[in-house]
């Protein structure tokens, strides 16, 4: 019957209010955006009066989530890159060769043979020692932690007519691919963050692809140039440490700031002991005392240089420098001969993981191939926004007018619900931080057209029920009851297609799927709860003997 409990009324009203409240910042897009940028800048680099003034443009206690504008609306560049993960296998095999050679030295002399880049072929001078040699080389294998459990090692070793063939095991290949992708993502993210653009999207797609979207950048070529630059990692001897940023470093030295300790500066020798190009791997690990640390490994030449240097400088600090900032300045504990070592410090697990990534992130681990690139000029974006705005307003007003002349007072209720509906779509989009694209605007316009459907179904049903003359209250209540199954079935089927679009689609299509999906949810909510609440409240007040729908 035509009764709605008080608590339900309150819940409905609150839900609407919450939706509109969340949508509110979008009405003041410019100031809120400046506010958000200022808040982020203050958190990062401390407050300045200028930033504080920008921050004050929007009150802190108000919601500040905005609907992100997609590239097609804001302008910017889009790249889809494929990481050539197999590049890394060759490097690994290069690093494996000296290890194998040294291990077999006592047994028999060996020669390296020509091979494909992803395997290592070693000929034994004395091939009667094959069985022992295989045993020794297999002993070099390290265990690989896999999901499937124990037993996997990083290399597969087999013998073939006096030749030992070493390849990476499947488990290790997978692990390596994953690491390569992680590193590439991290490097690209760092590169782009340095440029300081707003809200870049850097996502892994599938097994070996990375999607990069940067709003506001001039062109895809510019973006490629930024990603292409390699991070410069060096290991430098430390001369001294201080807090004076104007200190004179002296000839052959340079003064560089520390990343982690604000205000601290290091004077280091300009010429590095080793550079990041000679680093083969870095992994988070633990020291003898079980504290988080980072283990690393150099290639042969790096190992020799690093070994010599550490032997001579036990007890003195050296700096790990990335792009002219000191990441960490550990003290050399002992001679490090093998080209691998461990960095200890005041790390927690997260920090050691990050440092390992940073160390590896020195240079892109593998080549990138660009499969897709798009540049959208800001003018085109602005034109699209303007056109979209006009179209949305015209569509909105026409539908409102049409509903009113068709259903009178009930049409008015539906119209109010429609306005709340669009508000709630924006609220939801802001809440999840969704991106609005041009097809997304089309999705909203389509929703405006289709959102009335649920109300139309109900109102037409009420008209039918009035004819069978059971009194207005009964007619309204039956109208809602009987229209419900059609509304639910019709909207669930549409929702199914929206979900499939979202899962399968990418970029603008996904933006469309999100607005369409949210539109379906809010339109069903407003039709069966909000307009109903309005109708019931009106009915209670007016108590009409007859109604005209």
């Amino acid at each position: 019957m035509l009764q709605i409990d008080l608590w339900k009324r309150i819940v409905i009203a609150l839900t609407c209010a919450l939706g509109l409240w969340l949508a509110l910042p979008n009405a003041f897009y410019g100031p809120v955006e400046q506010h958000n940028d200022a808040v982020a800048a203050i958190e990062l680099g401390g407050a300045t009066p200028e930033l504080e003034a920008q921050r004050a443009l929007w009150p802190d206690w108000m919601p500040s989530g905005l609907v992100n504008l997609g590239l097609d609306l804001r302008g910017g560049a889009h790249l889809l890159a494929e990481v050539k993960v197999t590049d890394v296998y060759a490097n690994r095999m290069e690093a494996q060769w000296p290890e194998v050679r040294d291990a077999l030295r006592a047994l028999t002399p060996v020669r390296r043979q020509q091979s494909t880049p992803d395997e290592l072929r070693v000929r034994l001078n004395d091939d009667t020692k094959m069985a022992e040699a295989l045993e020794i080389v297999r002993g070099l294998a390290r265990p690989v932690p896999t999901l499937t459990g124990a037993g996997s090692t990083d290399i597969d070793v087999r013998g073939d007519a006096g030749v030992i063939i070493v390849t990476l095991s499947e488990a290790e290949k997978q692990a390596t691919d994953n690491r390569t992708m992680q590193q590439s993502l991290e490097i690209i993210r760092r590169r782009i963050d340095e440029v300081g653009t707003r809200e870049p999207t850097i996502q892994r797609q599938g097994a070996d692809r990375i999607l990069i979207q940067v709003p506001g950048i001039g062109s895809a070529a510019e973006l490629k140039a930024i990603i292409g630059t390699t991070a410069q990692l060096t290991f430098n001897p430390v001369v001294s440490r201080g807090t004076d940023e104007n200190a004179n470093p002296g000839i052959g030295n340079k003064l560089i700031p520390s990343v982690d300790e604000p205000g601290a500066f290091y004077i280091v020798e300009s010429s590095p002991v080793v550079t990041g190009e000679e680093l083969v791997d870095a992994q988070p690990s633990y020291d003898q005392n079980g504290r988080p640390a980072v283990s690393f490994r150099f290639n042969t030449s790096g190992a020799r240089k690093f070994g010599d240097y550490t032997a001579e400088n036990i007890g003195s600090p050296f700096a790990i420098v990335l792009d002219d900032e000191v990441i960490s300045a550990p003290t050399i504990q002992s001679h490090i001969p093998g080209g691998s070592g461990i960095i200890t410090g005041n790390f927690d697990v997260e920090e050691s993981t990050n440092l390992a990534i940073l160390l590896r992130a020195g240079a892109l681990p593998a080549g990138l191939e660009f499969l897709e690139e798009r540049t959208i000029g800001p003018e085109l974006g602005q034109d699209s926004i303007d056109a979209g705005k006009v179209a949305t307003i015209v569509a909105f007003v026409s539908v409102l007018f049409f509903m009113f002349v068709s259903y009178g007072l009930f049409g008015l209720f539906a119209n109010i619900a429609l306005i709340i509906n669009v508000g709630m779509i924006f609220g939801l989009l802001s809440l999840v931080g969704a991106t609005l694209t041009l097809p997304g605007i089309a999705g909203i316009v389509l929703t405006v057209g289709m959102a009335v459907d649920a109300n139309v179904l109900i109102f037409e049903r009420i008209r039918e029920e009035i004819k069978t003359a059971k009194g207005p209250a009964r007619a309204i209540s039956l109208g809602y009851e009987k229209a419900l199954s059609a509304i639910i079935d019709a909207n669930i089927t549409t929702l199914i297609t929206a979900v499939i679009l979202f899962v399968m689609g990418s970029g603008p299509v996904r933006g469309f799927a999100i607005t369409l999906g949210f539109g379906i949810i809010t339109s069903v909510f407003t039709a069966i709860f909000v307009t109903r609440l309005m109708v019931v409240i009106w009915f209670e007040r007016a108590r009409p003997k007859t109604i005209e729908v």
Binding site: S219, G388, V405, G408, E460, P508
Partner: protein, 322 residues
């Protein structure tokens, strides 16, 4: 005073010639499929790789001049079209240049784009490159595959849902109506050679959603009337149901069309193809829920015993209270 399409519930006879209607639909599908086979779709770069460059210049676009400049680079198949739109300013002359994917290139090369931009600046110093998009052949192949999978998945999911909520005959009717809509839409794009890109796939799926919406509303009423009039002829029940839901069908189609037409006229040329697909879809979708979905239901027949514990309630949602 209300605006009413129908003063009384209409009483059209939809099914006296239902075989003819089905025949017409089948014929249109054949024409559409033939057009697709013979002409093929005008695929955008999303689906066949290549580069599009959108240029803007204060001077009127001289396609021949542009073409002459780019032809020197020998890039193979090039299309240059001038774009017109009511929303453009007087000094806004826009052209779209499309360059095919270059042989032997899996990825995109900046050199090609740079070269084209350079020669165009030579002939038109004030030209601006508003957007440049390149898709490598490797990705475009995958995109078309994913798109096809998406459409098939959507139709499959719907088939299952309707089968669960109604009966299999309803599901078959609804899905054939969807296939009809999708084929006719692809046919129109092939016949008019409108550019077919990723956004059109989104439109296609929306059409699937919309058409279904319409079909489900009619079917819901059929289900209700089958319970109500157990003795009446199926043809009569179907006809009655469609007439009863007629007012709603037109009302919703109108409001949706109003919104879409506003977008078509005022929304700019970038999404015009997309909006066109949806307008077309609303029209065919409305048609197909009556003349395809319901006609097939009539052809297949349907079980008449819908008696459930509570025949009056209609469905399990009916007791949800606001």
């Amino acid at each position: 005073m209300r605006l009413r399409l129908f003063k009384e519930a209409p009483n059209f006879d939809f099914f006296s010639r239902w075989k003819i209607w089905l025949g017409i639909s089948a014929l249109m599908m054949i024409v559409a499929a033939a057009s697709f086979m013979i002409q093929g779709l005008n695929y955008g770069i999303d689906f066949r790789g290549g580069t599009t460059i959108r240029t803007e210049s204060p001077q009127v676009v001289d396609v021949a001049e542009y073409r002459a400049a780019i032809d020197r680079l020998e890039l193979g198949d090039i299309s240059i079209t001038e774009v017109f739109d009511p929303s453009f300013r007087a000094d806004q002359n826009v052209a779209m240049i499309r360059i095919q994917a270059q042989d032997g290139q899996e990825a995109v090369t900046t050199e090609t784009i740079d070269a084209v931009e350079r020669v165009l600046v030579e002939v038109r110093p004030d030209i601006k490159f508003i957007s440049v998009e390149s898709v490598g052949p490797k990705v475009s192949g995958e995109l078309i595959q994913t798109a096809a999978i998406a459409v098939v998945l959507a139709i499959g999911a719907v088939l299952i849902y309707i089968w669960l909520r109604f009966e299999w005959q309803f599901a078959v009717g609804a899905v054939l109506a969807l296939v009809h809509d999708v084929i006719l839409t692809i046919g129109v794009f092939s016949e008019l050679q409108i550019r077919f890109d990723l956004a059109i796939i989104a439109a296609l799926l929306t059409i699937v959603g919309y058409s279904l919406n319409d079909t489900v509303v009619v079917f819901d009423r059929v289900r209700e009337n089958l319970r109500k009039y157990k003795k009446r002829d199926l043809k009569e029940v179907l006809n009655l149901s469609i007439n009863e839901t007629m007012a709603r069908t037109f009302m919703t189609s109108f409001t949706t069309l109003i919104a879409l037409i506003a977008l078509f006229v005022l929304g700019g040329d970038v999404i015009r193809g997309f909006v066109f697909a949806m307008i077309w879809g609303v029209i065919v979708g409305t048609y197909s829920s009556i003349f395809v979905a319901s006609a097939i239901l009539l052809y297949l027949g349907v079980k008449r015993d819908w008696s459930k514990p509570d025949a009056n309630a209609g469905n399990q949602y009916a007791n949800i209270d606001a």
